[in-house]
């Protein structure tokens, strides 16, 4: 089993993600450089957080054109596991591997804080070790995490059970207050119809060690490892 962590110019959670997979979970992990044309036989591609190309145009907008992303697209189309975290999620949206788009947080400020997420669907490679309704505490750190999608599409993704995580109160209650960035339907994490591409704004790699204040993010990596095994 092998993980690949993509590096775009401007990625800044690449090492964090690599560290968690390699040192915390002891998995074979390699970096994938954006200019490459090969995925080096990895079983799961992780698009890390950061500000690819400075995010100067729109978050994730330029990264989608890199040579490596064409490979990632093919890999995903064939059913390969792809996890996009934060900026990685934004890239997946731009690539249209996932529906919708991100707009600026509702308070127009960058937000870095712990949030609570209610797990909505556990029949996925990314959440199979969790129980439906589990609430996990994970940090967010983004400026553009206000998820938007047209009503028809929202209807479809609900019907397909594509919503994986929603911003909630610690007790699982869904409220406007818990929905810190203003996302439609409190959406924090979303999967594609094929069930192999997950995008999420919160950072599980920042919540995988006790010293960082929460280990709740581990469930996602544990699920992937379990799935691939």
């Amino acid at each position: 089993m092998k993980f690949g962590v993509v590096i775009f110019p401007g990625s800044n959670c690449d090492y964090d993600t690599y560290f968690v997979l390699k040192d915390v979970f002891d998995q074979e992990t390699t970096f994938l450089w954006h200019k490459e044309h090969s995925l080096h036989d990895v079983d799961c591609v992780v698009l890390p957080g950061g500000f690819s190309y400075g995010d100067y145009l729109r978050s994730g907008a330029i990264a989608k054109f890199s040579p490596l992303m064409q490979e990632v697209k093919e890999f995903a189309d064939k059913g390969g596991l792809v996890l996009g975290i934060c900026n990685g999620f934004q890239v997946l949206l731009e690539l249209e591997l996932l529906p919708g788009a991100m707009t600026r947080n509702k308070n127009l400020k960058f937000l870095c804080q712990h949030v609570h997420l209610r797990t909505e669907n556990t029949h996925t490679p990314f959440t199979n070790r969790a129980r439906k309704g589990d609430v996990i505490k994970i940090p967010i750190a983004h400026f553009d995490g206000n998820y938007f999608v047209e009503p028809e599409t929202l209807h479809t993704i609900k019907q397909n059970d594509q919503i994986i995580f929603r911003y909630s109160e610690p007790n699982g209650h869904l409220s406007e207050r818990a929905n810190v960035n203003g996302s439609m339907h409190n959406i924090a994490g979303l999967i594609n119809t094929g069930g192999n591409v997950l995008g999420m704004m919160p950072h599980p790699e920042r919540a995988s060690e006790a010293i960082l204040g929460s280990k709740d993010g581990r469930i996602i990596f544990e699920s992937i490892i379990h799935w691939l095994r």
Binding site: P9, G10, N12, C13, Y15, D16, F19, V20, D23, G49, G50, F51, Y53, G54, D55, Y56, K109, F110, L111, C112, Q113, P139, A141, F143, H203, E205, R206, E209, I211, L212, G213
Partner: protein, 736 residues
């Protein structure tokens, strides 16, 4: 051609000009004059501060690099070194808050990675005018967003800092940014230009007419002519800097270069002349080869430009192609613009002509140092008295509520929520704790950092202010279990040509020196920002101390929040009858006066050592130092920070003015909570340290309750106090 007017525009005196002529053996041309005006500016030459800074203790067995380089370096064992420094970006942040603060972050980051260290943390120390003025809110809003915009994007966490509010900063906000990086001890790089014939490379952004005269601006007062003096504001490009950071660390890691220097204030001028001077060599460059963003730039403009995100590198001759390959990988050009020589001169060519030909030594080292006249300020005598003493409030609940709504005291989450404080996954204590704590991956260790500087203290008693700033920063470290290993400092003052300002400066330095000696910690660098005056009004003297500490076992730490009900609350140190210079006096009684709290450094040290020992033995549930707002606010904060909002009940016994007891800011005090079973061991430990341990009360309940000898002084619901404390700053911004 060089007349008085031109000299004035360049902030050079006639004597300085004559000295220049003598030193270089000719009349300088305009570009050469520009070079001297930059390098001999207060900002670059430290001409007013040099002789005083010499007093600071800089020695220590673990010091790898003291003052004099881009940043200080201290050995932390296991082959690693910590590289850190603090810088001010006050003037640019007043002119354009967002970009000024952002480029301040960019600059300090370059100071750190220039030396071969990967930056792992940023901290910021900010001073603004009161938030009821829209202009002050706009400045704060922009500054915070600018720091966030740059730091978040480049992926270095902003893990802490401090914010104070005072009228004196309304026209002159302070933005001091600290950065800390980690380097492998055998891969440290310096600003060296060795080896005649080695190529000089320019990397990073193109040069524009940005900030021409920025350094000279930082060396003069703002007056009515602000508009004219305003240089082209620099816009930060954090993405470019991220690429530079990665590429530079990569060429260093592969050992391809001889030396490297960032181009910040004073740009190409400073980097070329300093690198040559440091190595006793010379440099010759051709400006036609310098990548330029604007057309028709003159040699004067190119040499003086302060465009951001640029570096100058001296490469090993045989490795140039490899260097260029690394930069190309990161989509950056590395352009050869010249070479190292051995003639001790800075030679600049352009358009086939030599436009600068001067010896580097006078430029870099021979600026005169001034012992400027100093005099005791007239305000001191009347204002350091507390006569008549203020009346004691009738309702302490009201006084407490008022104090919790002082923005200096209220919660700063509005600020740090905008900073990515967790990227790089080393942040072991979230902002809000007394010190920031960063684990060092693949070791058991952690580094702690605290910034501190109470300018009201420094205003009313500069020497005490300097001492307390060091002591308090160290105390903050001790509250998380760390011991101090090194100090950096940013000294923000008014116009040094005013004798009172010089007097403040000298005394602050004396205070810092005394405290650093007592704690036996070296100062490894810092920054002086003079001329913080607008329209003739000077800011309060504002020393900001950045102290780095070390924690050998990252698990042996604690935080200020109460952990459970029923813990015993104890005070390390003693309550004293001191009210002067307190936030309580300032905010509740509207008096900025009185005697600054006294500090006995040996007691201070003992209290801190006790706290560190108790934490390392795992005895403490929480520890929080008593500072602005006094004991009442200290205890309340421990409640507010606890997840379950645990209250407390204490009964104080001291025979002093009750408002001094509640809100006075006596030094050398730490409030700790301990589980019942840990009390006896703690008491013994205190005895071993020859310190008494006062039992104050217990944690628990949902109210903040303080009695004095059985009589109730204060009693408010935790959540009520919490909401005031929490909402104050966000509410101020909602007034927009």
């Amino acid at each position: 051609m060089i007349d008085k007017k031109l000299l004035k525009e360049h902030n050079l005196t006639e004597e300085e000009y004559h000295l220049i002529v003598e030193l270089i053996g000719k009349e300088p041309n305009l570009t050469e004059l520009g070079i001297f005006s930059l390098m001999w500016s207060e900002h670059c030459s430290y001409k007013s501060s040099k002789i005083h800074l010499k007093k600071l203790p800089v020695e220590g067995k673990d010091v790898i690099q003291g003052p004099g380089e881009n940043a200080g370096i201290i050995d932390i064992g296991e082959g690693l070194a910590v590289v850190f420094k603090i810088e001010s970006h006050n003037h640019p942040s007043f002119i354009e808050p967002y970009q000024g603060a952002a480029t301040g972050v960019g600059g300090i980051l370059r100071d750190i990675f220039t030396m071969g260290a990967r930056p792992i943390a940023i901290m910021d120390s900010l001073r603004f005018g009161p938030l009821d003025k829209p202009k002050n809110r706009a400045i704060m809003d922009g500054v915070v967003a600018g720091i966030a915009g740059y730091g978040n994007s480049i992926g270095v966490p902003t893990v802490g800092g401090e914010v104070y509010f005072n009228d004196c900063y309304s026209l002159n906000p302070l933005v001091n940014v600290f950065c800390l990086g980690i380097a492998e001890k055998d891969k440290i790089f310096y600003a060296k230009a060795e080896g005649a014939g080695n190529p000089v490379l320019y990397v990073g952004s193109k040069t524009g007419r940005d900030g021409i005269h920025g350094a000279t601006m930082a060396s003069a007062e703002f007056g009515e002519d602000l508009e004219e003096k305003r240089p082209n504001v620099q816009v930060g490009d954090p993405f470019k800097e991220k690429l530079l950071l990665e590429a530079c660390l990569e060429v260093m890691d592969q050992n391809l270069i001889v030396g490297i220097q960032d181009m910040g204030a004073a740009g190409l001028t400073c980097s070329t002349s300093e690198m040559a001077s440091n190595s006793g060599s010379g440099i010759e460059i051709n400006l036609d080869l310098v990548p330029q963003r604007e057309e028709g730039m003159t040699p004067y403009e190119i040499m003086l430009s302060e465009s951001q995100e640029r570096m100058l590198i001296v490469a090993k001759k045989e490795k140039v192609a490899d260097v260029q390959k690394v930069f190309a990988k990161w989509d950056l050009d590395a352009v050869i613009i010249g070479r190292v020589t051995d003639n001790g001169r800075l030679i600049v060519n352009a358009g086939g002509k030599t436009v600068v030909d001067i010896p580097v030594d006078p430029v870099v080292n021979l600026c005169p140092a001034y012992r400027r006249p100093s005099a005791v300020p007239a305000y001191l005598e009347p204002q350091s008295q507390l006569d008549p003493a203020p009346s004691i409030p009738e309702d302490f609940n009201k006084a407490m509520e008022k104090l919790l709504s002082s923005p200096t005291i209220s919660d700063k989450e509005w600020v740090f929520r905008q900073y990515d404080h967790m990227v790089q996954t080393n942040t072991a204590l979230l902002p809000g704790a007394d010190a920031s704590l960063l684990r060092i991956k693949n070791t058991n260790r952690a580094l702690a950092v605290a910034l501190d500087g109470n300018s009201l203290y420094a205003y009313l008693d500069p020497k005490a202010g300097g001492k307390i700033a060091v002591a308090e920063a160290c105390r903050n470290l001790s509250c998380v279990g760390a011991s101090p290993i090194g100090v950096t400092n940013c000294l923000n003052f008014g116009n040094p040509e005013k004798p009172e300002i010089m007097w403040q400066f000298q005394n602050v330095i004396e205070g810092i020196t005394e405290a650093c000696q007592a704690f036996n910690i070296p100062v490894t660098g810092g920054n002086v920002s003079f001329y913080n005056d607008t329209e003739g009004v000077s800011i309060h003297p504002t020393p900001v101390l950045g102290v780095v500490g070390r924690l050998d076992d990252v698990d042996k730490t604690t935080s200020p929040s109460f952990k459970q009900e029923g813990d015993i609350l104890c005070l390390l140190g003693q309550n004293k009858n001191e009210l002067g210079a307190s936030e309580y006096l300032k905010y509740v009684h509207k008096q900025k006066r009185g005697l600054v709290p006294q500090i006995d450094l040996s007691t201070e040290k003992k209290v801190q050592e006790l706290c560190i020992a108790a934490i390392s033995q795992g005895l403490l549930s929480s520890a929080h130092d008593v500072s602005e707002g006094g004991l009442a606010v200290c205890l309340a904060e421990c409640s507010f920070l606890s997840e379950q909002k645990i209250g407390f009940t204490v009964d104080l016994q001291d025979n002093i003015r009750v408002d001094a007891l509640l809100f006075g800011e006596s030094q050398s005090r730490i409030c700790v909570s301990v589980r019942a079973e840990n009390f006896e061991p703690l008491r013994k430990l205190a005895e071993e340290h020859a310190l008494s341990l006062a039992v104050l009360g217990k944690t628990g309940g949902d109210r903040l309750v303080i009695h004095h000898k059985g009589k109730e002084l204060l009693n408010i619901p935790v959540l009520h106090g919490y909401n005031i404390w929490k909402q104050n700053i966000p509410d101020a911004f909602r007034m927009n």
